[in-house]
Amino acid sequence: QRKMSEPELASSLIKKVFSHYVKMPVARDAFRIVKKCSERYFRQLSNDLEAYTQHAGRKTVEVADLEVLMRRQGLVTDKMPLHVLIERHLPLEYRKLLIPVAVSGNKIIP
């Protein structure tokens, strides 16, 4: 049986996104730190999401849990609603999945 590699995000993706935001040169070793830090972030995130859903008596993480989390992280505030963050940071095809859009024929998607 083939051994599955540990699931992790591609270094190239982390590198690309981080360089895009940082807007200055980054030493190779600094990228390694960013990657490590991302792993820690996902571990922390998993723990938090589990705590939130258990607290709500659910086994499934809902969109609302993420919104509460982002509020706690200070990312979502009264002046910065979640849908604005979605519009700013996610490409259109994902935005359409997350934000209900009124379309002609009086239908709401999703």
């Binding site: 540990e6 699931p7 992790e8 995000l9 591609a10 993706l13 982390i14 690309k16 996104v17 981080f18 895009h20 935001y21 940082v22 807007k23 200055m24 040169p25 980054v26 030493a27 070793d29 600094a30 730190i33 960013v34 490590k36 830090c37 991302s38 820690r40 972030y41 996902f42 922390q44 995130l45 998993s46 723990n47 938090d48 999401l49 589990e50 705590a51 939130y52 859903t53 086994k59 499934t60 993480v61 809902e62 969109v63 849990d65 993420l66 509460v68 989390l69 982002m70 706690r72 992280q73 990312l75 963050l85 979605i86 700013r88 940071h89 996610l90 490409p91 994902y94 999945l97 997350l98």
Partner: protein
């Protein structure tokens, strides 16, 4: 608009990562996209923080020590 780079979310990888940490936890539809968003914002914060550190140290590039200091601050802010 902040973002003009073409980027797709690694949706199945994100789900796998959460599954690795919490095998029992299920994600509702499109929650992975919000996790991706949260991750982008996390990297955004980390980048800003690292850049500030580099400036303070009069460095023209981000060195590992700038990233380490930034990581501590930002991981703390990311706690739910």
């Amino acid at each position: 608009m902040a973002m003009m780079m073409k980027r797709t979310a690694p949706r199945s990888t994100l789900r796998k990562i959460i599954k690795k940490h919490k095998p029992q936890l299920r994600l509702a539809a499109n929650v992975d996209l919000l996790i991706h968003l949260n991750f982008l914002l996390f990297l955004h914060r980390l980048a800003e923080e690292a850049r500030t550190n580099a400036f303070e140290n009069r460095s023209k590039i981000i060195k590992p020590e700038h990233a380490i200091v930034a990581a501590k601050v930002v991981l703390k802010k990311s706690r739910g």
